[in-house]
Symmetry: C2
Subunit: 567 residues, 2 copies
């Protein structure tokens, strides 16, 4: 593969005398050459033969311009039981301090039966093939369209908006990229694994991670290779250790004899789950270069990237630059958001997964994948054969909401020429502001706790996301091999004290590999909703830690199962 790829580099170089520029203009054929060898063998079984399409019509055939449509089984719009959907879109997310669950400031966005007359005419006309052309400006979706059968890859309007999101924030280095709508990132990851993983394929994964992706990997017959994580407050070192990774791949046969060399890296590089870590751009470049050298596809899962948290200020714990209006949308896009791997993607080897669950709503079940057109086409075909397009109702709600936000934003004085998508991005900023407030309350309370002052636990401040870790400073006399049992004991104390968190070792992909680094709990500040709750949570956690230190190995109250907690 590497050889093949070098040839490709060479070829393009010869053609233009300009290696870099040409690399950013990789063709579909280039992607095929590079990545077809990484596609799972199942893919060859994916036949798609749409019974309502015909090709090879005689050249002299003169199709009637206005045929009667008696072909596809699409119900007529007046048979849909819902004839209008009105949405109340809030101007601002509810804030923690005033517990504003319902906002008085909102706009009504209507999803009406015939919002987009032209589209209706098109589906009723000669065309048997659904129209999937790019639309020019933003255009609201009508209910007649939302409730009907529609394009498998997603509504063109919504796809266009996702492309605007990518273009505004994470423009890929090459031109031939596209997006595909999915039913959320769970769906995206299942599809990507299905596309790439065969029996005995291997995938590199951060040792602590969002473990459900491990199930997708195993389900397709693949095996995981854990990558050591630097779980540290030193931001320059956070995340995957590039040296460890480079060494591992250069000496893979020695380290994992008998296993296939990894062809995929799954990474949550920004606001990592469960650790809250964010990888520096410098390290991303190193990791990208390693992947390029070994022809590894990068799955970048980025659910939390929009939730950027300014540095916690101990001298002014409740400081929140968002709420003070100190950050413009442009700054947020260019200076605050951490660029995706897409922005350094010379070879088109990155598949970026975004979701509307964290800054929109999980119940929409909407996300999207960005990547080179060859891989996006493969994923679209797979979508055709499985779940088909995500809910039209969800898509219409999201599309019209994004358009509403864009229109309102551009209508503000001075914003006439702002990118349309900035309306949505401003909402993401507002949500970041809310999470900053939550983080502030949480950390203020935690830093005040006796167990923290007594150095019984450490806090790793997240710069991003909704999670953070509390790392238990184990007593010197406790064996590191006991880590799991110690954490189980702490967990029992937490349940009695009344504070729910997630055990670090439950989020490892290989317990043995990571045991000694699993002395942490994952907390979130997403769901609790009053200052008081954060305070109580912190106090209860501190009490639980104190109990651990007083009781464990000395005066234990619980009879722990030797195997730890199992599902």
């Amino acid at each position: 593969m590497v050889k093949q790829k070098e040839n490709l580099y060479l070829q393009t170089k010869n053609n233009t005398g300009d290696n870099y520029n040409k690399m950013t203009q990789l063709t579909y054929k280039d992607f095929e050459t590079l990545y077809q060898p990484l596609i799972s063998s199942n893919d060859a079984k994916r036949k798609l033969n749409l019974f309502y399409l015909v090709n090879g019509l005689p050249q002299n055939l003169k199709c009637h311009e206005n045929p009667v449509y008696l072909a596809g089984g699409m119900p007529f719009e007046s048979m849909f039981p819902v004839q209008e959907i009105d949405l109340q879109i809030r101007d601002n997310p509810g804030s923690l301090t005033d517990d504003q669950v319902l906002s008085k400031n909102y706009s009504i966005t209507k999803i009406k039966m015939y919002e987009n007359e032209e589209k209706i005419k098109e589906t009723e006309s000669t065309k048997m093939i659904p129209v999937n052309s790019m639309i020019k400006g933003p255009s609201k979706v009508g209910l007649s369209y939302a409730l009907q059968y529609s394009e498998v890859a997603g509504f063109p309007e919504l796809l266009e908006l996702t492309r605007q999101i990518i273009t505004r924030i994470n423009k890929p280095k090459y031109d031939m990229w596209d997006t595909l709508l999915t039913c959320g990132t769970s769906d995206s990851l299942a599809k990507i694994c299905d596309m790439l993983i065969d029996d005995n394929s291997t995938m590199l994964m951060e040792e602590f991670t969002f473990t459900p992706v491990l199930h997708n990997l195993q389900y397709s017959g693949g095996k995981h290779i854990p990558l050591k994580l630097n779980v540290t407050s030193d931001q320059s070192k956070q995340g995957i250790d590039p040296e460890y990774m480079s060494d591992l791949l250069d000496n893979f046969d020695k380290k994992y004899p008998g296993l296939q060399k990894p062809k995929v890296l799954y990474t949550i590089a920004t606001g990592h789950n469960p650790t809250g870590l964010t990888q520096t751009m410098e390290n991303r470049q190193k990791i990208y270069d390693i992947c390029s050298k070994h022809n590894i596809i990068i799955i970048e899962d980025d659910p939390y990237g929009y939730l950027q948290l300014p540095k916690y200020d101990e001298s002014n714990p409740l400081n929140n630059p968002y709420s003070k209006g100190e950050i413009s949308v442009d700054q947020y896009c260019k200076e605050i958001l951490i660029p995706s791997y897409l922005t350094i993607d010379n070879d088109g080897r990155v598949l970026r997964c975004e979701t509307f669950s964290k800054v929109g709503a999980p119940g929409l079940r909407l996300g999207f994948i960005t990547g080179n057109k060859f891989l996006i086409d493969k994923l679209t075909k797979l979508t055709h054969l499985t779940v088909r397009n995500p809910s039209g109702v969800s898509q219409a709600v999201l599309t019209n909401m994004l358009i509403d936000m864009g229109q309102k934003y551009q209508a503000l004085p001075g914003n006439e020429n702002a990118p349309f998508i900035d309306g949505w991005i401003e909402w993401c900023m507002k949500i970041s502001g809310q999470y900053t407030t939550r983080r502030n309350y949480m950390f203020q309370s935690l830093y005040e706790q006796p167990a923290f002052k007594e150095k019984k636990f450490e806090l790793i401040e997240p710069t991003c996301g909704m999670f953070f870790n509390t790392k238990i400073v184990l007593k010197p006399e406790w064996s590191k091999k006991e880590t799991k049992r110690i954490m189980d004991y702490l967990y029992c104390c937490l349940l009695e004290e009344g504070c729910l968190a997630v055990l670090g070792y439950k989020m490892t992909i290989d317990e043995d590999f990571s045991l000694e680094r699993a002395n942490f709990l994952r907390f979130t500040f997403a769901k609790a909703n009053t200052e008081q709750l954060f305070k109580e949570g912190a106090e209860r956690f501190s009490n639980a830690v104190e109990r651990l230190f007083n009781e464990y190995g000395v005066d234990e109250k619980f009879d722990l199962a030797p195997q730890g907690f199992v599902e």
Copy 2:
């Protein structure tokens, strides 16, 4: 397998002395014994280890009654940008004659932030495991719930309503059944194939069918075995020929040497696509018995079953018993709807797929599977690992709409004690009434056409669904081997005359097997929306048939490719 099953019969018989009654009370273990051998080998790879669940807690642990929730990454409800959704639910589908796309008679159904306070309290409380308990009465879904992460199998409220649909119309013969929400029947079928089909598995399918399911089969490595269909106006013989099927299975090794014996039958028994045929209950019983004998799982795909069409009355073409109010909901349920295979399912071997696409709206992307709990559990696990729950917005729209319809129906005088779900079933009846009107206009026009009177084509009247076939009566001098070329020629004429239909041979699973029976086109009366359009469609079709008879083999206008039309 058959032996094992007989043992099972025997065992239960010995226990009770009553074979039949006990068979209807098959246990989970019985299903496992019967069907585990039919589960694909992939299933063993499906591990599901939820990181947020713990088991094996010490017995003396006293969980705090009101813990602070700092565990799961669920956004707080006030961060959802939508805070209310209002739906206009029409009282009646728009009728063909007045082209009533927007109805003046509708009710407003609101999806409000905290509709169901109790549920909110539950998700905020101690429970880390999502609540999946059956609810008692119908209960609307709140937006805080609809937009949040939710149960993978579907909203409990909506699942309960699907169980009411099944109980009211197609109550299974055994008790331990359940339903699973899916993203429509495409999703259902992909999942079922994934669960059952291995490399080299075989599946029985009607020779003409909804071909995308063939892709699902092939995708999992399976092979199809076509079953001959009786495409005839004689309703007692329509559909799968039980004798052909019985003979095929009894002599399978001879007929298909080297292939595995089929373990699944995929059938559209009611309002079949593309033929419009409906299998009699007598034949269903025969087919069921054959499947029982050979331990074959039956996938019953029933998208069109609710669209029951009264017999077309040539002396009174526009007669429509629905619109005259001659049919009660109870009659519709008990006398008119064709009972599912579930109602004769002694062994729990039926997986019934329903969709809300045809009587609700396709854009909802909602359907459900009914089957024995063992198989439903397997499918639920698969759902966990792939697409997760269908859109919460779609589920909330459908749930609250069904509840709205139920409440309005029960509020009518005399309906106080009617089953709640009859509100929805009445809607299905109204839709059937609309399709009856459309069928009437379409057939009235077709029977008047010269080409029909000249016996150049036959019509097979559908008793159900939205499709019907026009069977071309081939000239004696035309070779049956030319069927494909003849139909291609007709198709070209149709495109020039201006009438879009689907070629029968494009809906075969094995062109060679079915070529001689592929002299038909599939038409639908679903999408056209005026009397005039049906009339024009019929005239254009008749003109095209006339052209075929005048031009084919004599004075051909088109240069047809020898391989026919390909995708």
